[in-house]
């Protein structure tokens, strides 16, 4: 990373900024600069994403044929488990907040750094330590419980490396808690003069809401994992009925964290969307305060719907009814956001640069993912489609489609800020198109497969499901190309990209008011905010209508 900067041409090189302020590996490993830590995260989550992607390739190759012929069923079970663990805990959850959030939140609020810079660095080390434990469980034999660790399979029956993998997730969870804590304190205490709560960029609102979930929800995951560990290591009867425990208790605890975790993933991406759509329509987001509050509403309601993962688990029908109705309620603020983003385009000045293409892609995938969520919230239909590929398709549309589009769109948008250089527009537009098409070809057939009844986590399957599986695998290879393209041209642009200047997209927001790449302390002097967010028409400021 630092070599690319060292060989960079003169003009960026001459000016001192966060990338060339200090050289050598130590200056990176001991940095407390939020921007450098964001880059540490960027490189590490790219690694975990590639690893998770590799497991996905193996899964899709195996499912090309109905017979489980590429690998043994034990291997297959380990592969999909590691795909889930890597992607959920080491990519989707940290992706946008730990990279873009880390880089941008202090800059967007006019601060020099996060409130606790050393804690921020410690978060990265915890994240890496968690990753090391998870990798240790892979290389010493793997784990076959699925990323959901359902008991009593995980505590009593699995003969694989459950404890190191669970420990890895536990440690990475603390990284998440610390990051959330850091963001919350930073947003409360370190806003620039004049930057009131309702002048905050919506990206900050979204990350703030996600941080609330990280701080309140992740400890429950930690407790759950410790209980799994205690039962597995010391046979204390918590979840296994043979030891006197209750297997359903685990599911309540697990989903109490893991459902809100979906919003940890998607809320920051929604924040990115608000920034992108506003910047590339040259308009303030339609209904700013509705969008801001809908983030908080999603975070709060998100804690009340965990039971919708358990409609066929044997919980009472009345509990299921309550969880179903709450699930419909949490869908509403998400729908509101989609309508608001769409309305933002109305009478805007829309340009089709790469980040905007990713934003369009996000709206497409998120709409399909959100609407299919209505099928799963519908009790009578959920019974049929739960634990089938319908669920697999749905959560990939929401979690992966939503997050990837937000993450890649945001990465392109702020790439000139991060590196000081522009990415190649043509290649980047192609990547957005390929990712969108590949994604739909991969996951849309899975909705059909699911309604036909193909259960998830199947190593071999009845023959009539083959055509749809082949379509899905073909889509996955296109999607893979779509992911590799940005990897290559973004690395290329770090060295050869034209210089960007401070504000290549002519966007609003404090982060665009400083140099690219920014100086170590972000701003030469503390900015004073006198405008609303997204003041594209500051001169003809109009009051909020309606």
């Amino acid at each position: 990373m630092s070599t690319a900067v060292a060989t960079a041409p003169e003009s960026i090189h001459r000016r001192r900024h966060y990338l060339n302020a200090d050289y050598g590996i130590r200056s990176w490993l001991f940095t407390t600069d939020h921007k450098r830590i964001a880059l540490l995260y960027l490189f590490s989550i790219t690694f975990f994403f590639a690893l998770g992607g590799l497991f996905a390739v193996l899964i899709r190759l195996e499912l090309l044929t109905p017979a489980g012929d590429l690998m043994t069923s034990d291997t297959y079970n380990k592969v999909f488990t590691m795909h889930g663990i890597m992607m959920v805990f080491f990519f989707l959850i940290p992706s946008v907040p730990a990279t873009l959030g880390n880089f941008l939140i202090p800059m967007m609020i006019g601060a020099r750094d996060l409130a606790f810079p050393k804690l921020n660095l410690a978060s990265w080390y915890l994240f890496m330590a968690g990753g090391v434990f998870a990798l240790y469980s892979v290389v010493t034999g793997g784990i076959d419980t699925g990323w959901t660790f359902y008991t009593p399979f995980s505590t009593t029956y699995s003969n694989t490396k459950v404890i190191p993998a669970a420990l890895g997730i536990l440690i990475a969870g603390f990284s998440s808690i610390f990051t959330g804590l850091n963001f919350i304190v930073t947003v409360h205490r370190m806003r620039a003069p004049g930057l009131t709560w309702f002048r905050l960029p919506l990206f900050v609102w979204a990350n703030y809401a996600a941080s609330l979930i990280m701080v309140l929800g992740t400890p429950v995951l930690a407790i759950t994992i410790i209980l799994v560990f205690l039962e597995r290591a010391f046979h204390i009867g918590i979840f296994d009925p043979r030891l006197g425990g209750d297997p359903i208790l685990f599911q309540h605890l697990f989903w109490f964290y893991s459902h809100p975790a979906v919003y940890i993933m998607i809320l920051p991406s929604m924040g990115v969307m608000s920034e992108l759509i506003s910047a590339f329509s040259r308009k303030r987001v339609f209904g700013y305060s509705f969008v801001a509050f809908s983030s908080v509403a999603i975070a709060v309601f998100g804690f009340l719907v965990w039971g919708h993962h358990m409609f066929v688990s044997g919980q009472s029908v009345y509990a299921a009814m309550v969880f179903s109705i709450l699930s419909y309620l949490v869908a509403i603020p998400s729908a509101v956001k989609v309508f608001n983003w769409t309305a933002t385009l109305y009478k805007g000045s829309v340009s089709y640069q790469t980040p905007m293409l990713y934003a369009f892609g996000f709206l497409g995938l998120f709409t399909i993912g959100g609407l299919t969520g209505l099928f799963l919230a519908a009790l009578g239909v959920d019974v049929h489609v739960t634990d089938t590929y319908f669920v697999v398709a749905h959560f990939h549309y929401i979690m992966v489609g939503g997050v990837i589009m937000g993450y890649l769109g945001g990465l392109h948008f702020w790439w000139p800020k991060i590196t000081g250089r522009l990415y190649p527009e043509g290649w980047a537009k192609l990547s957005a198109l390929v990712v969108f098409l590949g994604f739909n070809l991969t996951f849309f057939p899975q909705f059909v497969l699911g309604y036909l009844g193909m259960p998830r986590r199947y190593h071999a399957y009845p023959e009539e499901f083959q055509v749809l599986n082949v379509m899905s695998s073909a889509g996955a290879s296109i999607l893979g190309v779509g992911y590799l393209l940005p990897l290559f041209y973004l690395l290329w642009s770090m060295r050869y990209g034209p210089e960007a200047g401070p504000n290549p997209f002519d966007a609003r927001g404090l982060e665009w008011q400083t140099a690219s790449p920014p100086p170590t302390h972000n701003f030469e002097q503390v900015p004073i905010v006198q405008e609303e967010a997204y003041a594209y028409h500051a001169a003809q400021e109009v009051p909020v209508a309606g």
């Binding site: 489980g68 069923s73 079970n77 959901t148 359902y150 399979f153 029956y157 699995s158 009925p241 043979r242 297997p247 359903i248 308009k283 303030r284 209904g287 700013y288 688990s313 044997g314 009814m321 179903s324 419909y328 509403i332 989609v338 309508f339 608001n340 769409t342 309305a343 385009l345 009478k347 805007g348 000045s349 829309v350 709206l363 709409t367 609407l371 209505l374 099928f375 519908a378 009790l379 009578g380 239909v381 019974v383 049929h384 634990d387 309604y451 036909l452 009844g453 259960p455 986590r457 199947y458 190593h459 399957y461 009845p462 009539e464 055509v467 028409h537 109009v542 909020v544 209508a545 309606g546």
Partner: protein, 329 residues
């Protein structure tokens, strides 16, 4: 491989029709909103592209619009909720008089036991046009009984009976899957449900019985385990009399009560100290590990049968007197 590309599953139960109707409603609503949003996006993106519309018009928002697109989706969502909850309640309320079959899931097979004593593995024969109710339990981890053609699914838990019911409407052979990931051969834990004409089904039943009915096996086991030395109708016995027990509320020593269902009876055998009946001492030994899940099902079936015999045997008499003493005290 051939290119058969099924897009819709077999529809072979009354529930399948009900679920599919709601599914089509959900599909229609989803298609409408997907097309609406996509059309608006494309229209705005083209109509207001920068080349044609270089200066954006500032619009802050509109409370009326916000209320509309909060309220309308909410109403539509509630219609989905009510419809779906209705179906769900029907799924969870097995009709009276259903044909009862028992199922045990284990890594990695399904075992079925018919009331007449017929047993089968990974195959389930049922008559068409009749309500069928499965009472299920797992011997190890959580499994899930899934009949795609019937649109029903229910997790199968260790230590607790769950039920699923369906009313087959079409003769044929359909998939039976384990839908909850359960370890190495999860994807091999599949089978078939064979829906037959009632006459054929009767013929099949007649050909398959070995070792007597479930109730008879349960009664034999009850005696072999010497349960009858304590569970006797005469007053002063060490254990409560079991005749007429099933489905009735039971009061516990130290407070609390529960309805005596399958799970309660099973727990009283495997962990008798957990819920001691009021007026009795906790002296019963545990039978955990001594009786297989199939054996427990037979015992439960036997204890259930004691109830149905009661009114026929001695109308008007208190239930305790109905069951004749068995074995030697």
């Amino acid at each position: 491989m051939g290119f058969d590309l099924p897009l819709f599953p077999d529809q072979a139960s009354t529930m399948a029709t009900r679920v599919d109707h709601l599914y089509f409603y959900l599909l229609a609503v989803s298609a409408f909103f997907t097309i609406l949003i996509t059309a608006m996006l494309i229209f705005f993106a083209i109509r207001y592209r920068r080349a044609r519309h270089p200066n954006a018009v500032p619009i802050e928002g509109s409370t009326k619009l916000e209320l509309a697109w909060t309220g309308i989706p909410l109403i539509i969502a509630m219609s989905m909720f009510v419809w779906a909850a209705n179906i769900f309640f029907a799924m969870n309320r097995p009709p009276r008089g259903a044909l009862e079959i028992y199922a045990v899931g284990k890594q990695w097979m399904w075992k079925f036991e018919h009331v007449g004593g017929q047993r089968e593995i990974n195959q389930l024969h049922v008559p068409v046009g009749r309500d069928v109710k499965l009472t299920m339990i797992s011997q190890d981890v959580i499994h899930s009984m899934f009949f795609p053609a019937f649109r029903v699914k229910q997790d199968v838990l260790p230590n607790r009976y769950t039920t699923v019911w369906f009313h087959p409407t079409k003769i044929g052979t359909y998939h039976l899957f384990c839908a909850e990931y359960c370890g190495t051969k999860h994807s091999g834990m599949i089978g078939q449900v064979v829906v037959m004409e009632p006459a054929q089904y009767q013929a099949w039943l007649a050909g398959g019985a070995q070792g007597g009915s479930l109730v008879a096996s349960g009664e034999r086991l009850f005696r072999d385990l010497a349960c009858d030395t304590c569970h006797r109708p005469d007053t002063g016995a060490r254990g409560p009399d079991l005749a007429g027990l099933f489905g009735k509320p039971v009061r516990f020593a130290g407070g609390g009560s529960a309805v005596a269902d399958e799970t309660y009876i099973r727990e009283s055998i495997t962990n008798p100290a957990a819920k001691v009946v009021e007026g009795f001492q906790p002296i019963m030994p545990t039978f955990q590990g001594q009786v297989s899940e199939e054996g427990l099902l037979q015992l439960v079936a036997y204890i259930k049968s004691l109830q149905t015999q009661t009114p026929a045997a001695a109308p008007g008499a208190p239930p305790a007197a109905a069951a004749p003493p068995r074995g030697n005290p």
